[in-house]
């Protein structure tokens, strides 16, 4: 066992690189996905058909074709005629992840905006707040905490999807697992370590997203503030504390 751990330690630089690449794919992919989600999500609610229909089409297209097809299409087909666009593998990965999960997230954006209570829309109309203003100041702040749990799920799925990057020559965490296996010639060890690393990564992201969600809920008066949630000392309840 110890020689396997030694080998793992030897490969620490590669592990670092693997984590870094996965992190890049995750963060850049998620950022792109968020932007696309809002563009398509808001677009699909537009009053004009010229925005609504293309938005829905793009969303269904990227949801309906598979992530694998998308990533390899960008990698194999884009450099060919008539496109002649050669993206580096990291860009392929980020764009495919962003488009695919952005399309799913667009539905979350749309659904969450629709879930904001009608009374809020009506109150905004009663005060004659215009459409964009109403969205920005009243609706989106209330839709945001509704989006967060589903965004968290999609983010974890994005991380899992990023494992594909190893197959377009990227040296991500998945690639590292292969390297570890070659180095230790122990499949179980290599993959168990690899899966544990992905697990820790996903868990850390979930904790971060939960913190964001708590903050978002607090801003609409639906929960304790982040400070209250994170504090180590118990919250004062007003009742006398019993001490032994």
């Amino acid at each position: 066992m110890s020689d396997k751990i030694n080998k793992l330690v030897d490969l620490l630089p590669q592990l670092g690189q693997g984590i870094l690449v996965t992190l890049e794919l995750t963060i850049a992919g998620a950022a792109l996905a968020l932007v696309i989600a809002f563009i398509l999500g808001l677009g699909s609610r537009a009053r004009t058909r010229w925005a609504r229909v293309p938005s829905r089409v793009v969303v269904e297209f990227f949801r309906g074709t598979s992530l694998v097809v998308q990533i390899f299409w960008l990698y194999y087909v884009l450099p060919l005629p008539p496109f002649y666009v050669e993206l580096d593998p990291l860009a392929c990965g980020i764009i495919a992840l962003g488009l695919n999960y952005g399309a799913y997230a667009a539905e979350v954006v749309r659904g969450s905006i629709n879930s904001v209570p009608t009374g809020q829309w009506e109150a905004a109309t009663a005060l004659d707040l215009g459409g964009v203003h109403r969205l920005r100041r009243v609706i989106l702040p209330q839709a945001w905490p509704l989006m967060m749990p589903m965004f968290t799920n999609l983010l974890i799925q994005l991380v899992k999807g990023s494992a594909l990057a190893a197959y377009i020559t990227l040296h991500d965490l998945n690639f590292f697992i292969g390297e570890l296996r070659k180095g230790t010639t122990d499949t179980v060890f290599a993959y168990t370590v690899g899966l544990l690393l992905y697990f820790v990564f996903a868990y850390a992201l979930t904790l971060i997203m939960n913190a964001f969600e708590a903050r978002a809920k607090n801003k609409v008066g639906q929960g304790p503030s982040l400070r209250e949630v994170l504090r180590v000392a118990p919250v004062q309840t007003g009742a006398a504390e019993v001490r032994s």
């Binding site: 109150a123 109309t125 209330q142 639906q222």
Partner: protein, 259 residues
């Protein structure tokens, strides 16, 4: 006392509204003079709330015209045809009409003060200092000066409704629409809200259209009561007259049931 301008504050001309097959209003005509305090009573589904919602552009009439201060509001006749008025012009009229809702509908992501100053600053273009000053003055009038920076969710229903009233008044509307504003409140909180509304009625000239079940309040505040049934006005009189000696059968029936 209303000044000598005799243009009606509100005029409905042949207004019709249906939801699918359900005809709620049909060829409705009535006028409200400036400074009137009109209570609309009648069974649910009779169209009273729909009238308020039409005036707030939360619904759109299928037929007829609605005039505010003598000017067409949402539709006008152009070249003999009934045409929709573009949003920009509607907006200019809409901001002169205020509404208080049964469910208060305060914005939970903003504090009490922010709720009140939002529209004056961004719609009326008032400076922040002036808007805040106006808001504080209104909060004082509704008895919630100390709740200035509170989160709306921390307030009781009655307090939230008073904030909602202040929010509507901050726009200095000419017409105030009150849609069953105490129906969602616990009984002990109703009196405070009614007190605020009574105060507004006594100290301002605002034209008020009130839908309510609080008949005592209606008697005290209104100068006209309209009884609705099936989308039509079936009786109209001064409060004393209609409550003590209703003429129409349906009115008698309705008042007997609720009083």
């Amino acid at each position: 006392m209303p000044d000598n301008d005799t243009t009606p504050a509100i005029e409905f001309q042949g207004v019709g509204k249906r939801f699918g097959d359900n005809v709620v209003l049909d060829g409705l005509d009535f006028t409200v003079a400036k400074g009137d305090r009109v209570t609309l009573i009648g069974p649910s589904g009779s169209g009273k709330t729909t009238i308020l919602r039409l005036l707030m552009t939360l619904e759109e009439a299928n037929d007829g015209l609605i005039l505010v201060d003598g000017q067409p509001y949402t539709h006008e006749i152009r070249g003999g045809k009934r045409v929709a008025i573009p949003e920009k012009r509607r907006s200019l009229v809409r901001r002169r009409v205020g509404m208080v809702f049964q469910q208060f509908n305060l914005f939970p992501n903003m504090s009490v003060l922010e709720n009140i100053v939002e529209a004056p600053i961004h719609v009326l273009g008032i400076s922040r200092e002036d808007a805040v000053a106006r808001a504080e003055d209104l909060l004082d009038k509704v008895g919630l000066a100390d709740k200035r920076d509170a989160r709306c969710t921390q307030l009781s229903g009655g307090q939230q409704q008073r904030v909602a009233i202040a929010r509507a008044l901050a726009m200095e509307p000419e017409i105030l629409l009150l849609d069953e504003v105490t129906s969602a409140l616990d009984p002990e909180l109703v009196a405070d809200v009614l007190g605020v509304l009574r105060n507004i009625a006594e100290t301002t000239d605002i034209t008020m259209l009130i839908v309510t079940h609080e008949m005592q309040f209606a008697r005290e505040v209104s100068n006209r009561v309209l009884m609705f049934d099936g989308g039509k006005i079936i009786e109209e009189a001064e409060p004393e007259a209609i409550f003590t000696s209703p003429q129409h059968d349906r009115t008698q029936e309705f008042l007997r049931a609720i009083l």
